[in-house]
Symmetry: C2
Subunit: 211 residues, 2 copies
Amino acid sequence: MLAMIVLVSGRGSNLMSIQAAIEKGALDGRINAVISNKREAAALAFAKEKGLPAVWMNPKEEDGRMGYENRLFSEIEKIGSDCLVLAGYSFLLNWDVFRHYGKPILNIHPALLPAFPGMTAQRDALAYGVKYSGCTVHFVDGGMDSGPIIAQKPVPVMDLDDEERLSARILAEEHKLYPEVLTWLARGRIRRDGRIVRVLPDDAEEGGGRG
Amino acid sequence: MLAMIVLVSGRGSNLMSIQAAIEKGALDGRINAVISNKREAAALAFAKEKGLPAVWMNPKEEDGRMGYENRLFSEIEKIGSDCLVLAGYSFLLNWDVFRHYGKPILNIHPALLPAFPGMTAQRDALAYGVKYSGCTVHFVDGGMDSGPIIAQKPVPVMDLDDEERLSARILAEEHKLYPEVLTWLARGRIRRDGRIVRVLPDDAEEGGGRG
């Protein structure tokens, strides 16, 4: 049973897909808390609806970012979890604080990293004129969307795409990819060696092999 | 009939795939010359075998790179062509010279640009740990693999890949993608608007539409 704390800032559609995977039994996990840096995040309302602990951490309450980060870290340690799951969380985690977490921190990003890191990935992909973008689940490190990649899914860019259409097409893949990766994590199938991440075959699959 | 000059430095496997597309009638084009900056390029031997004009341009003959670039440009203008096709050409074209060419200059790159530009794309992709790389056909501009993208094809990276295995898997896709893009160019289907490149529907396809 993988105990997760999910960090959100917005509508929480990835949170919903993770919760749905738990409810249908595909993901052997539980969400110990949903924490948002934004009070109005729809993800918090969803969490309450599902009976999950929903916490708003106000970044403005403390003096400066470090105060907030330290308080967030304490809250996470107090609640307890096997991993941190960033799902549309709008802050870069301060690595001076979170390097001490010691357990996996995952993020999902709406581009095929290392292309188009940052907050405007879909817009940047359209402006560049790529024919494929996609989504990436990666371990978080100190950088901006720079951590070791666990899984990716390419998504075609269509001629008539605007940011909304492309974002929606990518998001549909995010909703499949993130729960699947968490299933791998729950089953202990993810191995990391420096920047290289491998996914072991599923013991449950007869003779299952990858790569 | 698309008249091409193909610039090469190596074995010329993309040149072979283009010539094969011409021979089987898929690409309405002809190769006016194959020009190499390396005398030992296997691509030159292939060109001769096929009865195509094969030209070695010695970069060391002249004083400095600009001398070579100007001589290359003169040779290209003398031969005449509708486009320049870079197929494993190891030099960055000097844009002070080649901006005056005035016709399309295409290149193929073994990565999903803008990820992993430069000469060691496959090695860089493996070192980064991406789960997908691929190939990109793009217009050449003054930068390193930075021009507007015409077409891309994602290729999965497998757990057991080394540089050779990944390169071979990408190359197989290059050999399909480059001739296809040249077919679009031959049929006047490519439209460029700044960085954005669109491919018009093929008139030959009944009601064919893209995007």
